[in-house]
């Protein structure tokens, strides 16, 4: 069917995955209220997974729906649908690694899973929106849910502190984002991205509101993607939050911000490319350098992965700066691979910590590979993928982004990317080195006990499979990513942006 938004019903169709997930999330919430039995916790998790599966079906169905024109507030394009896959997969994997954790930590399961569902709804809205205001609402839906998730473990003071820091700074940054939206609204007369693009073409950038608005918007998003120097909250929030939530923040939440950022930059602000190019260039370079260098000296694996996620944000920013189709497709592909890899790595961290916040020091991984060979092997695979080792999805993703950067002749960024990647080998392989090359400390051998939950094994195998598949046979995923960005950047019919 074709949507022209002549009736409100069309909005419901266009937002079907969101609606399904939202209603399902409410269902989980209410189901949790009616059942107070402690034993019910995993069931709520499975229910949430079922809801995600339903949303995935709806998302797949949307491929058969088309929209007339490309200016409506809610986009039904492949870019959005691809992004939705990333969010759904990220959320599902997060829930799967949370099942045992939530039970073990005696968290309130219904609220926990419902919040993840609501945050995922927010991400989907963000990806779908062609309107700055909807982007803002979606981002806030995500953020507010994740503030709560970060502070979710009420018995852990670190969790509360992480939540507070994240909340205060996140709200602070939202203010800048919103102010930027207001200024752009004033300059362009609309918050619709297509309308903004047209207004810019007609000279709206000269009015004095557009450029500062763009700058504030960029800083707001730079915070959301934890780009240097707006990254200060990231390590604290990632370290303190419950580990599955950290996985979710590092993967899906970041992906959502990047998807929205890409659409805004490529569509709405394409006309002021010359103005945002240098800003993002420097932010990207600084993010790669600082993220990677600081990760080298971390001793906690959660903090190390936090800085690693900052560094990966830098690589993704390179794709934004390149601003061509290859880079845009690379961005989507990268987000998918990175999401899967990161959740996989955190799944191991959760398991090593025995469903709690213990043993996050990298030294605790000494000899782990030999004690738990499957986990150790997969963790090594994830680390190699994060480092960008050929044969893994991480390499393909980086290669793709690099290709986009080479086509855009961003040689210096390319050099920085490659050099900082080499630095990253150091800290990723340090963990692998501890796992395989170091003897376990005395007594550690006896603590291995306790079976790894079934769901974690599933997650690990799925993530490992995807990492290998995207590394060795990336064809399908790359085709999908390429098809998903077709037409994204050609916002006015017939005029391809030229830079």
């Amino acid at each position: 069917m074709t949507l022209d938004y002549s009736s409100s019903f069309h909005y419901l169709v266009a937002l079907l995955p969101e609606c399904v997930l939202f209603v399902g999330g409410m269902g989980v919430l209410l189901a949790g209220v009616s059942k107070t039995d402690e034993q019910r916790r995993p069931e709520l998790g499975w229910l949430a997974l079922a809801v995600l599966a339903a949303a995935a079906v709806a998302n797949g169905w949307l491929y058969s729906v088309s929209e007339s024109g490309a200016t409506a507030m809610i986009a039904v394009d492949k870019f959005r649908l691809f992004a939705n896959w990333v969010f759904i997969v990220g959320a599902a994997l997060t829930i799967a690694i949370s099942l045992a954790y939530v039970s073990r930590q005696r968290l309130q399961a219904a609220e926990y899973y419902a919040l993840i569902a609501f945050a995922t709804v927010g991400m989907m809205v963000v990806a779908a929106s062609r309107d700055l205001m909807i982007v803002f609402l979606g981002m806030e839906t995500v953020s507010i849910a994740v503030y709560a998730l970060a502070a979710f473990n009420r018995r852990d003071p670190r969790s509360a502190e992480a939540g507070l820091k994240y909340f205060l700074l996140g709200a602070f940054a939202s203010g800048f984002l919103l102010f930027g939206i207001a200024l752009i609204y004033g300059a362009a007369g609309s918050t619709n991205l297509q309308a903004i693009a047209v207004a810019v073409q007609d000279g709206a950038a000269a009015g004095g509101l557009m450029i500062p608005g763009m700058a504030l918007l960029v800083t707001g998003f730079a915070f959301k993607v934890s780009a240097v120097p707006f990254h200060m909250w990231t390590p604290d929030a990632y370290e303190g939050a419950p580990t599955p939530v950290t996985a979710y923040m590092a993967s899906a939440v970041k992906a959502a911000a990047f998807v929205a950022f890409a659409r805004i930059l490529f569509v709405g602000l394409d006309g002021v490319y010359d103005q945002w190019f240098p800003i993002l260039w420097w932010i990207a370079a600084a993010t790669m350098v600082v993220g990677n260098l600081v990760a080298v000296v971390q001793s906690s694996i959660k903090r190390m992965l936090a800085y690693s996620s900052i560094a990966h944000g830098g690589y993704l920013l390179v794709a934004l700066v390149a601003a061509n189709d290859a880079a845009a497709a690379g961005l989507l592909f990268y987000l998918f691979v990175y999401t899967v890899t990161t959740v996989g790595a955190f799944a191991v961290v959760v398991t090593v910590g025995r469903q709690s916040e213990r043993d996050t020091a990298i030294e605790k991984y000494a000899g782990y590979g030999w004690r738990r060979p499957v986990l150790g092997t997969l963790m090594t695979l994830f680390l190699l993928s994060l480092a960008g080792f050929p044969g893994t999805g991480g390499f393909m993703a980086k290669f793709y982004v690099l290709q986009g950067a080479a086509e855009a002749h961003l040689w210096w960024l390319l050099v920085v990317l490659v050099l900082t990647t080499l630095v990253s080998y150091w800290y990723y392989l340090r963990v692998a080195w501890f796992m395989w090359m170091k003897e376990a400390p005395e007594g550690a051998v006896h603590r291995v006990g306790g079976a790894t939950p079934f769901a974690i094994y599933v997650v690990l195998l799925v993530c490992g499979g995807i990492v290998l598949a995207t590394g060795l046979l990336p064809g399908a995923a790359i085709d999908l990513a390429q098809g998903s960005v077709e037409g994204l950047r050609h916002w006015v019919a017939g005029t391809a942006p030229a830079h």
Partner: protein, 118 residues
């Protein structure tokens, strides 16, 4: 149009100057010879104990939050209500769904015991 507010501004200015002026003047003109007795909050009363900030029950917070949420509901409903007939069924359904969502929220809060004072 703006001129009609000038008297208001003048009154505002005078009152501010007056208030600040009196406070400052009393500080400046007042001879200050503090003794320990005088420095006490209640010169001849009980010596106060503990924090001046009294603890509020968490329940006030719960009520306040509920109030904000349902208060804000109104700002979305009123513009629609004013033009309900002209807008027709589409927005009606939309508002209906909006209220349903809030109702679910209310049901959740109720079940959780958020509405009970004790």
């Amino acid at each position: 149009m703006a001129t009609s507010y000038i008297p208001l501004l003048i009154i505002l200015g005078v009152s501010v100057v007056n208030a600040v002026g009196m406070a400052v003047a009393s500080h400046v003109l007042n001879p200050s010879r503090p003794t320990p007795q005088k420095a006490m909050p209640y010169e001849s009363g009980m010596i106060p104990l503990g924090d001046t900030r009294a603890r509020f029950s968490i329940k006030f917070y719960m009520v306040a939050i509920s109030f904000i949420v349902f208060d804000l509901e109104a700002i979305f409903l009123i513009p629609w209500a004013v033009r309900m007939r002209e807008l027709g069924w589409g927005p009606f359904v939309a508002v209906f769904l909006f209220v349903v969502v809030l109702a679910v929220g209310l049901a959740y809060e109720w079940k959780k015991g958020g509405l009970e004072w004790d």
